[in-house]
Symmetry: D3
C-alpha cells in the first residue's frame, strides 16, 4: 500500500541513502474560496492587503522549512529555495496560492511545497476569518515535480 | 479588513486580555480525494490501514498543539482536548477528516482544528503519494465553533 | 547573584506558583545602525520596503512566542498581545524597533519583548546584509515593565 | 534593495543550488553593559558564575542550530561547529560575547553566529535582570566571514 | 486499556476541561551506569565536571518544557517550576538524576519530570560517550506525584 | 574528559568538517518493565494495542529527527532512515524497544537512536500510566554503531 510501511506493516522512515543526490523541485497549488465581498475588500486594500499577503507568504515559507516536524515520516531536507505566490482572483472570489520548493537531496520535496501552500492558506483564513468565517481552503495539490527516479510529473488541469 | 492589523495597517497579535476565559470549542473538516483504486486498497487493508490512519491522526493532533508556531498571529492556547477522525468513503473515493479542539481560554480554537485536519490530510497524502500522486486535499473548513463572544457558529452544508 | 540559581548554586527554573496571576506588560527597544545610503534606500522603497519591514515585524512576533525555547530558564507564558514597530530614522541612519508583550500570568514578559526586538533586528540584518554587512544591532533594552511585585519600571533615557 | 526580494518585490528564500559547497565560517560579537557592581559580582562568583556563563553559552549554541526557524528567510544549514565565548570585562562593566559558526554548505553562516551571540546575551540578561534590570545588549555585529563568493570579510574595529 | 484511546479504540488527547486547576507536582528519577573509571574521572574533574553537569541539567529543564512536542498525547502545561539534580555516585559507578516539575493545571506533570531525567541522562551519555560508549541509562521512573484526583503517589523503593 | 569540552574546559559543538561523509548507522535498545497484568492486557488487545504501539513508534521516529534540539551539543544530521520496533515480552512483563538510525554524514547517529528508543518508551509510559504508574524504563543503551573512524561497535550482551 505504501512504501512508508515496513514488511511487517509498520510505519518507518524509508531508507533513502541509496538514492542519488540530485536537484529536486516541486510546485504545489491551492485555492481559498471566499465571499465576493471579502475578495473585493482584499483586492481593494493597499497597505493592509500587502501586510495580509506578506504574512501568508512568510507563513508558507517558514512552514515549508518545518515539514519534517509536521509530517511524521518526512525526511529532513535542506531546502535551497522556497517561494510562495498569492494572487487575488476577484472574479472567482478566491485567492490562488502557488509554492515552489527546491533542494539538492536524495528525496523529493513535494511535501514541502504542499505544506507551504496549506500554511499560507490557513494563515489567510486566520487573518480574514473575522469577516468571513465560511472561507474554504481547497485544491491543495501537487502541480509539478522533477528530479527523482520517477521522472517529471506535471498535473494535467 | 482584519483585526490582525493595527490602526497603522500593520500586523500584530491582537490583544485578548479583556476577553473572558470560557470553554472554547471548534470542529473543522476536510476531504482528500483519490483514485477509486487507492480508496479501495486503503479500505481493504487491515493492519497497514490501521497504521496509515493512526499516523495521520497523530500528525493532526500533534500539529494542532503547534498551531501558534505555524500561524504567525495565533495566540498560544493550552488545548484541553484534541481528537481527529478519519473515515474512508470508498463510494466517493475519498477520506473525510474531522478534528475537534477544545480549550479553556480567552481566544477561539478554530485554527487549531483547521491545522489538525490539514496536517492529517497532508500526512495521508505523504503516505499514499507513492501510489496516487494526484490526490487533492480540499474542503478544509470550519464546521462548528462555540464559546466566544460571536456566539455559536454551525456551517450549513 | 541570581534567583535562577538554587541554594546549591545550580540553575533551575524558579518556582512561580505562589505569585498572583496579573496583567504583565513589558516594552523593549533596540536600534540597528546602518550606512546612510542603506537607510536612504530603505526609506525610499515602497512595496519592497513594506515587505522588508513586515518580515522583520513578523519575525519578532513569532520569536516572542518561542521565548521559552530560546532562553533556557524562561517559563512558558501564554501571551495575550504582541506588537512590534519599526521606524526608519533616515537622519540617524538607523531603524528603531519597539516591541510590546502582554500576558495574564504569574511571571513577567520582559524576555518576550527583548526577544522580539532582537529577532526583528536580526531579520532586518539578514535582509539587508547583502548591501550593508557592517550594520550593528544595539541598544537592546527594557523600556518599561508593569504588573509584577517589583512595581512599575520605566527606563530613564 | 535586497536579494531576499523577488523581481515582484516579494520575499522569498533565495535559490542557492547553483552555489558551490565550501567551508563557510562566520564570527560575530556582542557586548552586554551592566552596572559596575553587577560585573564585580559576576566576576567574583565561582560556581554560580560558572553556571551563569555555561547557561548563556549553551543558549547561544542551541539557538544557532535553530536560526532558520527564527530568521524567516534563512536556509537550513547543517552546522559542523559552533562555539560561544564570554569574557567578563570588569573594568568596562561589561561581558563580551563572541560566537563562531562553521558549515560545509552553499550558503553563509553569518546569521547563525549573530543569533548565537544574541541568544547568549539575552540569556545573560534573563539570569541577571533580578539584580540589574537596566543592562543593555549592544554591538551585535559580524566580525569575520569567509567561504563564500564575496570573499573574506573582516570588520575593522 | 488506556484513557488515551477513545471508545472507538483510537488515540486522542483526552478531555481535561472538567478537571480542577490545582498545584500539580511530580518527581522522577533515573540512573546512568558507567565504567568505574568514567565515574572516577567525572568526580575528579573540576571545571569540566561543572560544565558537563550543567549541560545535562539545562538539557533536562529545556526538554521538560517541550514535553507536549515529544509525547504525542500530552497536553501543553505551563510549568511553574523545574529543577534537575545530578549526583555522582562513584562507589556505584553511576550518576543519579532527579527532576521535579510543578504546574497549576488541570493535568499532571509526570511526563514533564520523566522527560527531564531522560534528556539529562541522554545528554550525559552524549558528552561522555567518547570515553565510555557502553553506559546504560536506566531506572527512569516516577518517584512521586501529587495534586490530581488520584491522590498522592510515592514510589516504594 | 570529553571532546565536547574545549581546551578551556567549556562546552562547544565539536568541529566535524574534517571528517569524511560516510554512511553512519546506529542501533539502540531499551526495555520498559511493567506489571504482568499490564503486559498481558497489552498483548491481548487488538486494535487498541495497534494504536498504542503505533503511537510509541511514531513518537520515537519524530523525536529522532529532533535530536539536535534536545541534546545541546548534537550536530544536525539529515537522517536517511529511522525505524522503531516494539515487541511485547509477556513472559518478562516488558516491552523491548529497538531503534535504527542511518545518515550519510560526518558525524555518528548514536544519539538519534538513543533518543528514539527513549521517546518511544516514554510515550508507552504515558499511554499506560493510567493502569500502571510504576512502570520503569531502563536499559537505554547503544547496541551497534558503524560508519565512523572508531570502527564497528557491537555491544556484547
Amino acid at each position: 500500500l505504501s512504501s512508508h510501511l515496513s514488511e511487517r506493516g509498520e510505519v518507518h522512515m524509508v531508507s533513502v541513502e541509496g538514492k542519488p543526490t540530485t536537484l529536486r523541485r516541486a510546485v504545489a497549488g491551492a485555492t481559498i474560496q471566499m465571499r465576493p465581498e471579502t475578495a473585493r475588500r482584499l483586492a481593494a486594500g493597499d497597505t493592509p492587503k500587502g501586510e495580509v499577503l506578506a504574512t501568508a507568504r512568510l507563513a508558507g515559507i517558514m512552514a515549508a522549512k518545518r515539514t519534517p516536524e509536521l509530517i511524521p515520516l518526512c525526511h529532513g531536507v535542506a531546502l535551497t529555495h522556497v517561494a510562495v505566490e498569492l494572487s487575488i482572483d476577484e472574479a472567482a472570489a478566491a485567492v490562488h496560492i502557488t509554492a515552489t520548493a527546491e533542494a539538492m537531496d536524495r528525496t523529493g520535496v513535494e511535501m514541502e511545497a504542499m505544506v507551504a501552500v496549506s500554511a499560507a492558506g490557513l494563515t489567510l483564513y486566520d487573518m480574514l476569518k473575522g469577516i468571513d468565517r465560511a472561507m474554504v481552503l481547497g485544491s491543495v495539490r501537487l502541480l509539478e515535480k522533477s528530479g527523482g527516479r520517477s521522472g517529471h510529473f506535471r498535473r494535467e488541469e
